[in-house]
Symmetry: C2
Subunit: 202 residues, 2 copies
Amino acid sequence: MEALKQKILDEGTAIGKDIVKVDGFLNHQIDARFLERIGREFARRFDGCKIDRILTVEASGIAIAVGTAPFVGYPPVVFAKKAAPNTLKEGFFRAEARSFTKGKVSSLIVSEKYLPAGESVLILDDFLAYGEASLALADLVRKAGSQVAGIGAVIEKGFQGGSEKLRAKGYRVESLAVIRKIENGIITFEEDDPAGEEHAGE
Amino acid sequence: MEALKQKILDEGTAIGKDIVKVDGFLNHQIDARFLERIGREFARRFDGCKIDRILTVEASGIAIAVGTAPFVGYPPVVFAKKAAPNTLKEGFFRAEARSFTKGKVSSLIVSEKYLPAGESVLILDDFLAYGEASLALADLVRKAGSQVAGIGAVIEKGFQGGSEKLRAKGYRVESLAVIRKIENGIITFEEDDPAGEEHAGE
């Protein structure tokens, strides 16, 4: 998605070799108008997929899931909550997500009520890095007895291997911008598949 | 907002005398279509106010702020992050919010970059109870050198005194549904001002 790449270049900040901060439009301050373009692009990428529900994780996934719902038929949006691994709660599905950056394991929980069986669930998140959060979300869907319609990320750090890991498990992955590398403050993207690119204006 | 009251009665759960759970459409699972009605109603209530920015707090405020932005001219949305009181971070505005229900004080922080001076900022949140979170958000706005355009809550627990506290400080408060009491599992609302009610269908 060229407009997204340009926005990342214009407004994002590269830190070291691993981090790109997009606090200015996605993670802390949110550009609600641009969110609609993100939502429309996810709808285009997953066109033809059955989407009964969107699953994401708090906090920064919420805006993306809510921003996409209107373009895929307003399915229910559910966000997984981050809980301490030992918090005892009943009536929840729970999955563990390892964070490479934070060096710890956290639990993602979703009420069983809001993740029913037999659905086709689209997983959305802001970033795809090592894929651990997406794997945990997919695990929740599987535990609920539903299937993963696909996994969508706004920004993928392609060099961290998350999408390969997810595709090896059979999941369809759509990332709107894939970063190839971050070096000396410069962000380089993978080329989009030209046939897949959105050409219409906003 | 009659449609909201009806939705709370239909889908909410009253617990004890203090708690109403709306996990089914607002706090965990989100009804994105209903969110648009909420956004449109906030726009109507704050019609004529200058809104340069919407400020909310993670996690469940995010959907409401993002859902309202399109109806008030797509201002930037910023969500305060909850931080441990002693986390040292530079370049952030910080305010303390006491939680009566959790019995502890937590810090809300917002990057100085995303709360510039000289603006008129609309504060939105899901619940208004004792008003401590709203006071902390208003404190952040004041620290930034901006002014509070108003404070909007989807659901106010009127019996906990938050709106009186906020109005006594000169803030305009708009709550879309005000709960008068919760008793024996029954939720009773304050009457809306009839002249102020939305009569048009969706």
